[in-house]
Amino acid sequence: MAWFRKDRRRRTAQREKLEIPADAWDKCEVCGHVDISEKFERALQVCPGCGYHRRIPGRRYIELLTDAGSFTELFTDMRSADALQFEGYADRLVIAERKAGPQDAMVAGCGTLTGIEINIGAMEFAFMGGSMGSVVGEKVARLADRSVQRSAPLVLVSASGGARMQEGVLSLMQMAKTSAVMARLREAGTPYVSILTNPTTGGVSASYAMQGDVNLAEPGAVIGFAGPRVIKQTIGQDLPKGFQTAEFLVEHGMVDAVVPRPQLRDTTARLLRMMQGLEPAGAAT
């Protein structure tokens, strides 16, 4: 009765195994959406599933907001001085440079956006939490000075936990310094677009980040004066859902619009052109 007996055959893989590199796939840390990395990358690290905006380096914002090849970085040899000889600060600066690059917490320079000359600075959160010390303050001030001198609009992308406490009251005074140059910029009638990304709190939100002619914010970005943890501690209860998000700030009239990252370039360019009384990009010629 062995006619129905099947020869046991060893199972072998029919297909050749594809070598998939470990980093070809990416998973959204918020919604769990899985997609090929390239798709995340093409969407500027915005999740194709839920729209969560991952943090991207300051230099990516510069690429995004300037015409290809037009950007020249300025003030590249500027470094933080440990003026107060603050315990542990010198070491932290070395570590931060190794991790995030030599530009301190802001990449600054000039370039063009749809052909118009702009001065642009983007904060680098990976450098000590994007904290504002003398270097950030000085870069902002010089960019604004340049904008006044050349009547070229200013674009600043913020991502910061606030003032850098290792520079003590010197960092606090950067709020005053940057505000004074912004007052001059406003007086000169040179446009300034401020873009607030996750997070923008403390001394940066309470100075130049909130002083744009137009303040734009990325979806979901936490924006506020005090950080959520401090508020929670003060009031002794959990914060309402969505408190201090970009959407919350628009609702309360503190920023002009929430703009998804893929539209930042176009929105900024259109605004700057209108503020300067120029034709739409690509309209003429």
Partner: protein
């Protein structure tokens, strides 16, 4: 000072004060003349005060700056100015009792005075939110600064706050925006502005009234980007390291003067402003008057230019 709150390091002072007082009481009861015994003790008390206050550590200065008996804005306003008329409200939302402001005269000259106001007891502290302003406080201040500009009157601000209030309503109504706006507008204000840190200069909440042509600081006042407790909690995950943080932050009047951030240190009576509020107010008044005099002759454009220039220079970087 024999009654009421005293700090640890003030104990020898308080003991001696008690001793003098009981001697006086005894003398009064028995109708004795003890002046010859009291006079050296009073001299010793003055020496002791001077000695203790000369050697204060940064953290002890923080304690003095927060002393519950320290003169607050209204104490100075009532002693220094005449004709004070308090004006309330930001015309947008409500009045913020953590900031008092209005017209007043300094030696006949009309000025606008604006100060953060702490409460003297629990009830008043609840009303004044411990001197921690909401956005409407900063907006009221700005409204009055604009009024001062319109009527060509100088602005004097008195700074004394643990910080801008970190709460739900404050965030909803734009604490960051309110401070940012004040900074920008104060930078461009065409009238002269003098800021005096009289107690606690708590970070952005202090600076929101502090961008000025001249910044003065009472001898025992502090001015810092973060409280020593907050700094210690963040850096060393331990708020009890506040002594270490107070030293590192360089927050005393002496430090700020050395760093070129304030223009003058206003000396306090030996033993601190709380031991002699009248004396402290007199010295502050004289200082305010002399700075107002110096600023009076400057043209508005020049004043704004100089102010911007002054802040433009603050910061320490290495280049090249």
């Amino acid at each position: 000072m024999a009654n009421g709150f005293s700090l640890d390091f003030e104990k020898p002072i308080v003991d001696l004060e008690r001793q003098i007082e009981s001697l006086r009481r005894m003398a009064a009861d028995r109708e004795l003349d003890v002046e010859s015994e009291i006079t050296p003790l009073v001299a010793k008390l003055a020496d002791l005060r001077r000695e203790i206050y000369r050697g204060l550590t940064p953290l002890q200065r923080v304690q003095v700056a927060r002393h519950p008996r320290r003169p607050y804005s209204l104490d100075y306003i009532n002693r220094i100015f005449t004709d004070f008329v308090e004006l309330k409200g930001d015309r947008l939302f409500r009045d913020d009792p953590a900031i008092v402001a209005g017209w007043a005269r300094l030696d006949a000259q009309p000025i606008i005075v604006i100060g953060q106001q702490k409460g003297r007891d629990t009830k008043e502290n609840l009303q004044r939110n411990f001197g921690m302003p909401h956005p409407e406080g900063y907006r009221k201040a700005l409204r009055l600064m604009r009024m001062a500009e319109r009527f060509r009157a100088p602005v004097i601000t008195l700074i004394d706050t643990p910080g801008a209030y970190p709460g739900l309503g404050a965030e909803e109504r734009g604490q960051a925006e309110a401070i940012a706006r004040n900074l920008e507008e104060m930078a461009a204000l065409r009238t002269s502005v003098i800021a005096a840190v009289i107690g606690e200069g708590g970070s952005g909440g202090a600076l929101g009234l502090g961008l000025a042509d001249r910044v003065l600081m009472m001898e025992n006042a502090i001015y810092s980007v973060i409280s020593p407790e907050g700094c210690a909690a963040i850096l060393w995950k331990d708020a009890s390291q506040k002594e270490r943080a107070a030293e590192a932050l360089r927050l005393t009047a002496q430090d700020l003067h050395e760093l070129g951030i304030i223009d003058e240190i206003v000396p306090e009576p030996p033993g601190g402003a709380h031991t002699d509020p009248d004396g402290a107010a007199n010295t502050l008044a004289a200082c305010l008057e002399s700075h107002l005099g110096e600023l009076a002759d400057v043209e508005p454009e020049e004043r704004v230019r100089q102010r911007a220039e002054k802040y433009r220079k603050i910061g320490r970087i290495v280049e090249g």
